[in-house]
Structures are given as C-alpha cells and as structure tokens.
C-alpha cells in the first residue's frame, strides 16, 4: 500500500452502500453532504466544537468534520436521514423534540438527535445527568437546552 491523494471508498450510510472516489483531503462531513447529497448533517464550526455534524460511525458517535472521508472506507454510518422508520413517520426522538419544543432554528437538531440516539442506544434508561453529559458535545444557540433535555428524558426510560 502506498500513499495516495485520492482513493475509492465503499461506505454504508443508513443501510445503503455507496462506492465513490474521494480526495484524501476531503472531510467526512463534505463527503456526506456534497457527494452523497445527505444534507441533514450540518457544518456549524468546522473545528470539532459544535457537534452539528455528529453522525454515528461504526456504532460510535463522532463529529464528521473531524474525520477524513478516506478513513471511512468500509464503515457503517448513520445520519439523521436514517432515523425515521418510513416516510411520514418520525423516530421517537424526533417526535419528542417536536412535542417538547426542543428546536427553534433547527441548525443543531440533526446533531442533537444523533447524540441522543447514540446515548439511548447504549443506555436506554439514561438519567438526566447522563443525558446532560451525553449531549455535552452539541451546542445550541437558541433553546437554552432545557427543552432538549426534557425531550430526551421523555424517550429514556
């Protein structure tokens, strides 16, 4: 194996497998948004601070602006587009965010939802403290967080 400036990768996103040629300098978030046209994941800060780009990568929550697309060769990725079970139906977390008024502008919401999903996948009965800690990597400039915590708490049990 020798170093290369671009490479063909195979990635499974929300159950669908994609094969694409990508440049080594391409961040995973841009691959997801621009190459796969899955624009639910957002770019807030591009420095690993805001969490708007959070996706679940091989079962683990990551910030997709902090990985290269080439690193994802062979990976399984879940994005916000994969949450709803079918068209017209919402995932329990999405419904709860709506019910609890847990979003205003919605910019942070895809990342918040993926962080909440990763947390509840690992710990379905997360306490309020665990929810606060689990969402620490996601910044919201609108809501003041209380309603987001309530929305996740309502789904945890």
């Amino acid at each position: 194996m020798e170093p290369q400036t671009s490479q063909t990768i195979t990635v499974t996103v929300n159950g669908e497998t994609y094969e694409r040629e990508v440049e080594a300098r391409r961040l995973l978030i841009h691959f997801i948004r621009d190459d796969l046209d899955l624009t639910g994941s957002h770019v807030g800060c591009d420095t690993g601070n805001c969490g708007a780009c959070s996706v679940i990568y091989n079962g683990q929550l990551v910030k997709s602006c902090m990985l290269l697309a080439v690193q994802a060769d062979g990976a399984r990725i879940e994005t916000v587009e994969g949450l709803a079970p079918e068209d017209g139906k919402l995932h329990a977390l999405q419904q709860s965010f709506s019910d609890h008024h847990a979003l205003q502008c919605g910019y942070c919401t895809p990342g918040m939802l993926m962080s909440a999903k990763a947390l509840l996948d690992a710990n379905p009965s997360a306490s309020e403290e665990e929810i606060r800690k689990g969402l620490q990597g996601n910044i919201c400039r609108c809501t003041g967080y209380w309603n987001i915590i309530d929305a996740v708490k309502a789904v945890a049990r």
Binding site: E2, M66, L67, L68, Q71, S115, G137
Partner: protein, 267 residues
C-alpha cells in the same frame, strides 16, 4: 473546509507505518485526528502524507500485568480508557479520561495523540508525569523507553521525533492519585491543571503554566507542603484571555493542593 492536498495511507502493521514515515520527511502519523485535523484546517501544519495508525492492532489494547503495571497501546481511545476493566487498577486514568471534552472527542481521541500533541492545556501530559509513566517509542531501527518527565520537550514537541511512533505507555501500579483543574466550562479546556501521586515519593505535575508539565517533588505529603513547593517553583505562566499569568500562578497552588488532597484520601 478544504484541506491542502495531502496523501493518505492506512498501513496495518507498525513496521509498515515506520517505513512509510521514513520514506517522506513530510509524513505524519494520524491518530484520532482530534487535534491534527484542526491544525491542518488552520494551515498551522501541512503534512504531505498522513500515515493513519487506526488499522494497526499492535498499537491497541490494554494489558494489566500481575505486578499491577499497565501497558496501554498508544491508539487506545479515551472511551476505551474509561470503559476498560484493566484501567480500574489505576482509577485516575478513567476518571480523567471521562472529563476530556465530550463523547465525540472521547470516541476518537487517543492517549498517544494526547501526549504526542503536547498541547500545554491537554489533560494527559501532567497526569503521565505525576504517575511516573514510561513512553515506548519505535523508530526505523530501534525501540527506546523515555520517562514521561523527559518526554515532553516543548509546545507540540516531544521525544517522539520525525519518523518515530509512540507505541505504548507503561504505568506502574498505584491508587493514591489525584487530579484537579479549573476549566473553561464543565469538562472544558484547562486553564490550569494538576495531577498528584502519592505512590512512593510525592509527585505533583502542573499543566498550562509552561510549555511542558512542571514536575514538583514537595517535601511533605500534605496540602501546605505542596502549596509551599509550588510557590517555590517560581512559575511564570502565560497570560491570555482566560486568565492572567498571576491568576494562573495562584490557581496552580490551588489545584495542586486539591490534587494532593484527593490522592491522600486514597492512601
């Protein structure tokens, strides 16, 4: 953000990684990427080749020897550190790992990357110095072991030089450890931090006050002795938007005393 053009390779063995690093002066190891990618976005560094260490099994895993010595692979993530059964033998490791940034950063960031980046505000450099850790470094032809207090050379500069890979960190047995920090927000970046260990001689290492962790060996094992020793160390910390140098000097005493109190409570 678009990075400068770069080549990428993901070797599956350490030998292969060392060969690739030796082949190009502009090659750099990529561990968790949680510092390096930001540095590349800011164009503060622009490596020509990224040698991704993520597929190298030899750099992963934690071993607990019968004598209590922990050997931690450089590519062990913070999440693995805080979840592994082995690291419960030295509880401070998981406790500190749990306070680094957030879930996402902890899932990717590695113990090796944390010490190799030697950002003066990082959590693990002072902890490694206080615990008396040893760093195992592999180069093209030889392997060597460096004590943590000799490993950190300057800001973003360590004994693991160009072409070399930190492979593992050895940590002796012990439980009487403490860590305290004043941070920017809960689990945020440290303004000043200190780690203390009372296994054998008392060792306190202070972070964020100089380019490398400052190791202090206080005369006594109580908080007053530690405060005196910190005062006697003539620290000259930097000033920035978060704290003046003078305030950092004050905090250094406070967090060092807190760390030693936590360590004493466990002896």
């Amino acid at each position: 953000m678009l990075l400068r053009e770069v080549e990428y390779v993901r070797p599956s063995s350490l030998d292969e990684a060392l060969r690739l690093l030796a082949a190009d002066d502009g090659a750099r190891p990529l561990a968790g990427g949680q510092t390096l990618l930001n540095v590349m976005k800011a164009r503060a560094a622009a490596p020509d080749v990224l040698v991704d260490l993520n597929a190298i099994e030899e750099l992963k895993g934690i071993d607990l020897a019968p004598n209590g010595t922990l050997t931690i692979g450089a590519m062990t993530t913070y999440t693995e550190l805080l979840e592994a059964a082995e690291t419960k033998a030295r509880p401070i490791l998981g406790e500190v790992a749990a306070t680094i940034a957030d879930v996402q950063v902890r899932n990717r960031g590695t113990i090796g990357g944390n010490v190799c980046s030697n950002d003066p505000t990082n959590h693990l450099p002072p902890l490694m110095v206080a615990l008396g850790a040893e760093m195992v470094i592999a180069g093209a032809d030889a392997e060597r072991t460096v004590k943590a207090e000799d490993f950190f050379l300057g800001v973003y500069l360590t004994a693991a030089g160009p072409g070399e890979v930190l492979t593992k960190i050895r940590i002796p047995a012990g439980r009487s450890d403490g860590f305290a920090a004043v941070t920017i927000g809960a689990d945020g970046t440290c303004i000043v931090n200190a780690a203390a260990s009372l296994n054998g001689e008392a060792r306190v290492a202070i972070g964020c006050v100089a380019a490398v962790p400052v190791l202090i060996r206080p005369g006594g094992r109580d908080a007053d002795a530690v405060r005196d020793a910190v005062r006697g160390a003539d620290l000259d910390p930097p000033s920035d938007v978060h704290a003046s140098g003078e305030y950092r000097r004050h905090l250094a005493e406070v967090v060092a005393a807190r760390a030693i109190e936590q360590a004493s409570a466990r002896s």
